[in-house]
Each structure stands twice: as C-alpha cells, then as structure tokens.
Subunit: 151 residues, 2 copies
C-alpha cells in the first residue's frame, strides 16, 4: 500500500543513476582486473597519461576527478610495476613529471579497444540521439553541480 505523496526510490533519478553507474563501473573493473590486473584508478591514470603525458600528479587529479591520495596510490602501484616513469620537474622540484613507460603504453594501447568495446556493448540498442541527450544531461548536471558545490 502506497501512501499519499509516496515516493518511489526506484524511479528517483539520483538513485537510478547511482545504481546503474556502479554496475557499469563493476563491469569495467572486472574486465580490467581480469585481463590486465589493473584497478580503475590505475586505469584512469594510464588513460590520461596515454593522451596527455607528461603530467604531474596534480594535473592527473584534475583530469580524472580523483583526489590526490587516490592518485598517489595509483601512481605508486604503477611505478612499482614499471608501467609509468617519473622525472623531477626542471625548475619546480615539488612537481613530478609522469609518463607511460614502454610497457605502460603497450597496456594503454591494448586497453583502449577493450574499453571502447565494453562501452559499445553497454550502450547497444541506444539511438545516437539518446546518447547525445545523455551527454547534454551530463553537461547540464555538471554545471548545476558546479553551482551547488560553490557555497
């Protein structure tokens, strides 16, 4: 029995977003972990380094929207595995220039098609206009959140 003004969590947008997104993330994490032995934070670092290296940890934070602790840990793991390389900044010793190593780039180039394939699989059956609408929604919601968070 539903009461007056009742509230259906299952059609509540933030809830739906959260559930679906977490499922998507888990699907990706399973693939990355299984095929490459890499976590999502690590994969994100590789992804931005693959496209924009060299980057400092701070720049990776901005580009991946991860906090600096998470980035620091992912970077430490990737360094230990030899997938990325570090080099001190010439003039500012606080900064650390990070790049993909040879084996890191190999993984990067192997992962990209997999990532795109999973994305295609997950969005199979969606029209181009629906996907475009989704991007609009994300743009707009992101702008609202900028406002909300600025207080």
């Amino acid at each position: 029995m539903k009461r007056s003004g009742s509230f259906d969590l299952e059609s509540f947008l933030p809830y739906r977003l959260s559930v679906t997104t977490n499922r998507v993330s888990r699907a990706f994490a399973a693939q990355y972990e299984q095929e490459f032995g890499i976590s999502i934070p690590e994969w994100r670092v590789i992804a931005v380094l693959g496209a924009f290296a060299p980057l400092s940890s701070n720049e990776i934070c901005e580009r991946t929207a991860m906090d600096k602790a998470k980035v620091s840990r992912a970077v430490a793991t990737l360094l230990k595995r030899g997938l990325i390389e570090r080099e001190a900044h010439e003039t500012d010793q606080r900064l650390i220039q990070l790049t993909l190593s040879k084996s890191g780039r190999k993984i990067y180039e192997a992962i990209i098609p997999r990532a795109r394939a999973i994305e295609a699989e997950v969005t199979k059956g969606l029209s181009k206009s629906d996907i475009a609408a989704l991007h609009r929604v994300l743009d707009c919601v992101g702008a609202r959140l900028d406002e909300i968070e600025a207080d």
Copy 2:
C-alpha cells in the same frame, strides 16, 4: 599532443557517468547528513520502508540494490536510533519484518520534499525530453548489464 587513435577519458561515457554520479551522490549525502544525520544507505532503507513496509532485509536488498551486509548495518543503526522497528515473521523465524517507527516516518516525510528539491535543482535547465531520454538510457543500459552479468 594527441596520438593517433588517442583516447579522451573526459568524453568516455562510463567515466563521465561515474564522475557525475559521484558528485550527485555527494551532494545528496551532504544534505542528508547535515539536516537529518543520516547516511545514504540509511536513507535508502527509510525510503523503501516508507513506500513498501513491511519488508524483510532481503527485500530491502532487492529494492535498494545494496548488498546484505550494507543493509544489515544500516538497519542496525536505524534500530538503535529508533527510526525503524522489527518484528519476527509469524511462520518463518529467519525473516524479520521491518517498518518505520513514528519518528522514522516523520523523518521520511521530511526528507521526501528535500530529496525532490535537490533532484529538481540538479536537473534544472533540462528539457522534459532530455530527462525522458535519460530514463530510456538507464532502462536500456540496465538491460544490457543484465545480459553482461549473466555469464
């Protein structure tokens, strides 16, 4: 400098989804925490109990898409705070019927308008058709995930 076949994480759908959703969740969590002293898992339990009580823990798991450990902890906290009540099932002693207490319902009824307001704020500026498209996307992606997870 982008390389050929380069990959832009920032326009990668699963990534965008994850970032935006986490921001939305944080915005909600801040409100719930600040105004009602309640976490997101706790709020979800209250939400489904407000609409569908009485429910067992297992039914709450299904309706909220949370694992049973998380539900168990949220239920324990809400019991301790007197916001929900438990009662043994008549014939199956393993099941526990959970309902909102009087004070729990009061919180439920106070939270609903707040939740709707935040949702409205976050989606402000979006057309009805964009929101409809978003729901379609979530439906479709959910169906794909059902397939993917079934293996």
